[in-house]
C-alpha cells in the first residue's frame, strides 16, 4: 500500500491492528472498537465502509485521530459524500480514502475533506506521483466551494467585480 497527500508520497505510521501486534498507532474497525480494541501505544485510527452511518462514527471523533473510508472501486462515489458529512459533523483529524482511486479524482477527494489517499499495490507504479500532483493543478479554480479550498471561481468573480457592483 502506498500513501500520498497533496505534497506527494508519505510514510504510513498507522497499521491495521487486525494484521497483528504493533507498537505504534493502530487502525481498527467499528466492530473492533466496540469490542474494546485499543492500540498498545499512540494514536487510534478508525476504518469504515462508505455506507457507515455518520452518527455511529461521530461518537468516536474525540478518541480517533484518523478515519479511513474504504473505496471498493473508483467508480463508487459514496465515499465523497461520507467524507463531506464527517467534516460537516466536525471531524478535525486526518481523513483518508483507501482504495483504487485515480489521479483525476484527487482534487475531488481533497475538496470533499480527505487529506490523503491510500492506493493498492502496484497502482503508483502505473500512475506515478507526478500524475497525482499534476491532477491538483489541472484547474486553476473550481466553481464549487470545498473543504479548505483556497478559492473558487465565484470568489474570483467577486474580487474582480467593479467596486460599485459589490
Amino acid at each position: 500500500m502506498k500513501l500520498l497527500d497533496r505534497n506527494g508520497l508519505k510514510a504510513d505510521v498507522y497499521r491495521r491492528m487486525s494484521e497483528g501486534q504493533f507498537d505504534g498507532p493502530g487502525i481498527v474497525s467499528l466492530a473492533e472498537l466496540a469490542d474494546g480494541a485499543q492500540p498498545a501505544a499512540g494514536k487510534l485510527g478508525l476504518a469504515i465502509e462508505n455506507t457507515a452511518n455518520v452518527r455511529d462514527v461521530e461518537r468516536h471523533f474525540d478518541s480517533v485521530t484518523l478515519i479511513v473510508i474504504h473505496f471498493p472501486s473508483f467508480g463508487d462515489g459514496r465515499g465523497f459524500t461520507l467524507a463531506r458529512r464527517l467534516r460537516r459533523a466536525g471531524f478535525g483529524g486526518t481523513l483518508r480514502a483507501s482504495g483504487p482511486l485515480i489521479p483525476d479524482q484527487f482534487a475531488f477527494a481533497l475538496a470533499c475533506g480527505f487529506d490523503e489517499v491510500e492506493l493498492p499495490e502496484g497502482q503508483i507504479e502505473r500512475q506515478p506521483v507526478e500524475q497525482w500532483r499534476g491532477a491538483l493543478t489541472a484547474f486553476s479554480a473550481p466553481y464549487q466551494q470545498g473543504y479548505r479550498r483556497p478559492r473558487t471561481i465565484l470568489e474570483e468573480r467577486r474580487r474582480n467585480a467593479p467596486e460599485a457592483a459589490r
Partner: protein
C-alpha cells in the same frame, strides 16, 4: 445569451488540456481502459456500434449563429458533413475519431462550447424550455437558473461518480415544454400562492428507461437563494443511498419509489437540517450576474398584428399551413417564435447537414438577432422573428429543405438513433420513423389529424421517450427479429402519463399500418375540436385495442 467570462473560458480550456492528457495517459498505459472509460464518457465520447460518437452540450438548448457555424465546420472536418440533435437538446456527431477528439474540443472552446458531462454517471447537461425568455406564458426566464446549475454541476467534487446518470430540467412557464416529470430532478419556477414571490418547486424521481416513473414534488417551495442547497441535499441523499448493486435500479426514481415519497422527503429535510442555513448570498449574486446576459432584447416597437404577414397567409395556402404549426406567441408585440422542423418527410429525425447549419446561421443573423434554440423534440427554434419577416423567412427556409409544415403533427416524430448507430439498440428507430412519415406525408391529412406526438425508442432505455408519446413505439428484439411494441396515451406535458401497452409486438412492416388504424379510429370517434390525446383520455386506451388488433395477425399465426 450567456457569454463566458475569463474564468469560464479558463475552466473550459483547462478541461480540454486535461482530456488531452487523459487520452495520452490511456495511450501510455497509465490509465487502464476501465479507468479511462468514465473520463472519456464525462467528455461526451461514446463508443458506438461503428465508431465513436461525440455528444456536444448545448446548455439549455441555446445556440448562437457563430456556434452553429463552428458545428458545421466540425461536421465537415471531422465527421461526415452532418450532425444529429438529440432529445436532451444536445448535438451528436456520429463519426469522429478518438485521436481528433481533443482538437474538436479545442474548436468548441473557441466558441464557448464544451462536451462536459454529456455522458457518464454524473449530472448531465441541464435542459430547459426552448422558448425560454420569449414565451408569452412565462413566469420567469429559466435560463439564468439553468446556467447557474451548469456551473454548479460542472466537475462537482462530490457528485462526479453517482450511481447512475442524472438529468435536470428547468421550466419557468405555465406550460411545461421541458418534460419536467420525466427527469431525475426538475426545477419549476413558480409564484408563491400567498406571497406572490417567485421561487422554486423541486421534483425528483422521474425518468423513462425500463422502469418509467413520473416525477414527484419533493420540495414545495424553495425561496430564491435556497436552490443550490436544496439541490445538494437531494444529490447527497441519492449519492449516499441510491442503489449501486444493479445499474437498472440505480436511478433516483428507484430510490424514491422503494423508500416512498414521505421517507425521501424526510431524508432531504434531515440533510438540510444537518447542513445548517440553506440561504446562500453568493447564489443570489451569481444569479443576478448571469441574469444580465439574458436581459430583454431591444425589440422594435411594433403593432401586434402584421399586415404583410396576414396578406401572405391569405395568398399562400402552404405558407399559412406552415405558420399554423411553426409559430408560438412571443412576449413582444409584432414578433413570433418560429419552430423549424428537422423532420422532413423521409429524413432521419433531428439530422442537419453542415450546409443547412450554415444557411440556418445566416437566417438566424438576418431574422432572429443571431440566436437559435434546440428543442427536446429535435427541432430548432428562431426565437425573435418579426412577423413582417415571416414570409421571407419561410421562403428562405424552403430553399434549404427546412420548411416542412409538421411541427407538433404526426410526422414530427421523436426517434433515438436506434440500431443504425447505437450499441445498445435492439431494433431500428429511424427507418420506422421514416416509414410512418411517408405514410402520413399528405400535409392536408396531417393537419386534419392535428396535434399528435409519436415517439420511438430502439431499446428499453427509452432515449426516444416512447413512454410519454401519445403513441409510443418501442423496438425490441425477439428471437432474432425486430419487434415493435405500441403504447397509447402517454403524455409529456405537466399532465404527464405513461402510455399503455396495446398488445403483442409487431414487425417493422406492420407498424405503420397499425399506427394508421389507431389514427383512423381517432378520426372516426373524435368529438368536434378534440385532439388525439383528448380522445384517448376520454375513451381510454382499451377502446383502441380492437383497431390495433386488426394488424397483429402474425402473432396469432
Amino acid at each position: 445569451m450567456y457569454r463566458y467570462d475569463e474564468f469560464d473560458e479558463r475552466f473550459v480550456r483547462e478541461r480540454v488540456a486535461q482530456f488531452r492528457d487523459q487520452v495520452q495517459r490511456r495511450i501510455d498505459g497509465a490509465l487502464t481502459e476501465e479507468e479511462f472509460r468514465p473520463l472519456r464518457l464525462q467528455n461526451g465520447l461514446y463508443l458506438q456500434l461503428h465508431a465513436y460518437m461525440l455528444r456536444i452540450a448545448v446548455p439549455y438548448g441555446v445556440l448562437s449563429s457563430r456556434q452553429l457555424r463552428a458545428l458545421a465546420t466540425i461536421a465537415d472536418r471531422y465527421d461526415r458533413g452532418y450532425g444529429h440533435f438529440t432529445t436532451r437538446q444536445n448535438l451528436q456527431f456520429n463519426w469522429p475519431k478518438l485521436r481528433d477528439a481533443p482538437d474538436i474540443l479545442e474548436l468548441l472552446a473557441d466558441v464557448q462550447m464544451h462536451t462536459i458531462q454529456t455522458s457518464g454517471n454524473c449530472i448531465r447537461n441541464t435542459t430547459a424550455d426552448q422558448f425560454a425568455g420569449v414565451a408569452a406564458d412565462e413566469i420567469e426566464d429559466p435560463r439564468p437558473v439553468a446556467e447557474l446549475i451548469r456551473q454548479w454541476s460542472s466537475l462537482h467534487p462530490e457528485f462526479a461518480f453517482l450511481p447512475r446518470k442524472f438529468k435536470i430540467a428547468v421550466n419557468g412557464a405555465t406550460e411545461d415544454r421541458a418534460v419536467l416529470k420525466a427527469h431525475d430532478v426538475a426545477v419549476r419556477i413558480i409564484r408563491h400562492a400567498e406571497t406572490g414571490e417567485t421561487g422554486y418547486q423541486i421534483l425528483a424521481g422521474g425518468g423513462l428507461g425500463r422502469t418509467p416513473m413520473i416525477g414527484k414534488i419533493v420540495v414545495d417551495f424553495a425561496p430564491k437563494g435556497h436552490l443550490l442547497s436544496h439541490l445538494e441535499a437531494v444529490m447527497r441523499v441519492y449519492n449516499a443511498q441510491g442503489r449501486r448493486d444493479n445499474k437498472y435500479k440505480a436511478r433516483i426514481k428507484i430510490l424514491v419509489h422503494e423508500i416512498g415519497l414521505p421517507e425521501f422527503k424526510a431524508r432531504i429535510a434531515a440533510e438540510l437540517e444537518a447542513e445548517g442555513p440553506s440561504f446562500r448570498q453568493e447564489e443570489v449574486d451569481e444569479l443576478a450576474r448571469i441574469a444580465t446576459f439574458f436581459a430583454r432584447k431591444e425589440y422594435e416597437t411594433l403593432a401586434p398584428h402584421s399586415r404583410p404577414y396576414e396578406r401572405a397567409r391569405a395568398a399562400n395556402r402552404d405558407f399559412a399551413q406552415w405558420a399554423d404549426t411553426a409559430l408560438f406567441a412571443h412576449k413582444a408585440d409584432g414578433y413570433a417564435i418560429v419552430t423549424v422542423s428537422l423532420k422532413p418527410i423521409g429524413g432521419p429525425p433531428g439530422d442537419m447537414t453542415s450546409d443547412q447549419m450554415r444557411a440556418f446561421a445566416d437566417l438566424a443573423d438576418r431574422y432572429s438577432l443571431g440566436e437559435l434554440r434546440v428543442s427536446h423534440a429535435q427541432n430548432l427554434v428562431l426565437p425573435h422573428v418579426k412577423k413582417d419577416d415571416l414570409f421571407a423567412l419561410w421562403r428562405a427556409l424552403g430553399e434549404h429543405g427546412l420548411s416542412t409544415a409538421n411541427v407538433g403533427l404526426i410526422t414530427d416524430i421523436i426517434a433515438c438513433p436506434g440500431l443504425d448507430y447505437c450499441a445498445l439498440a435492439t431494433a431500428r428507430s429511424i427507418p420506422i420513423a421514416q416509414a410512418i412519415a411517408q405514410r402520413f406525408a399528405d400535409p392536408a391529412r396531417q393537419h386534419d389529424i392535428g396535434p399528435l406526438n409519436i415517439k420511438i425508442s430502439g431499446c428499453i432505455n427509452a432515449c426516444g421517450h416512447h413512454h410519454v408519446g401519445h403513441i409510443g413505439i418501442l423496438g425490441l428484439e425477439k428471437s432474432g427479429r425486430e419487434s415493435y411494441q405500441i403504447t397509447l396515451g402517454g403524455d409529456a406535458s405537466w399532465n404527464a402519463a405513461i402510455g399503455e401497452l396495446l398488445g403483442p409486438g409487431l414487425t417493422a412492416d406492420e407498424t405503420p399500418a397499425a399506427i394508421e388504424r389507431l389514427v383512423d379510429f381517432y378520426l372516426a370517434h373524435r368529438l368536434s375540436g378534440e385532439t388525439f390525446i383528448e380522445t384517448v383520455k376520454r375513451l381510454g386506451a382499451g377502446a383502441f385495442k380492437g383497431a390495433f388488433a386488426g394488424v397483429s395477425r402474425h402473432e396469432a399465426a
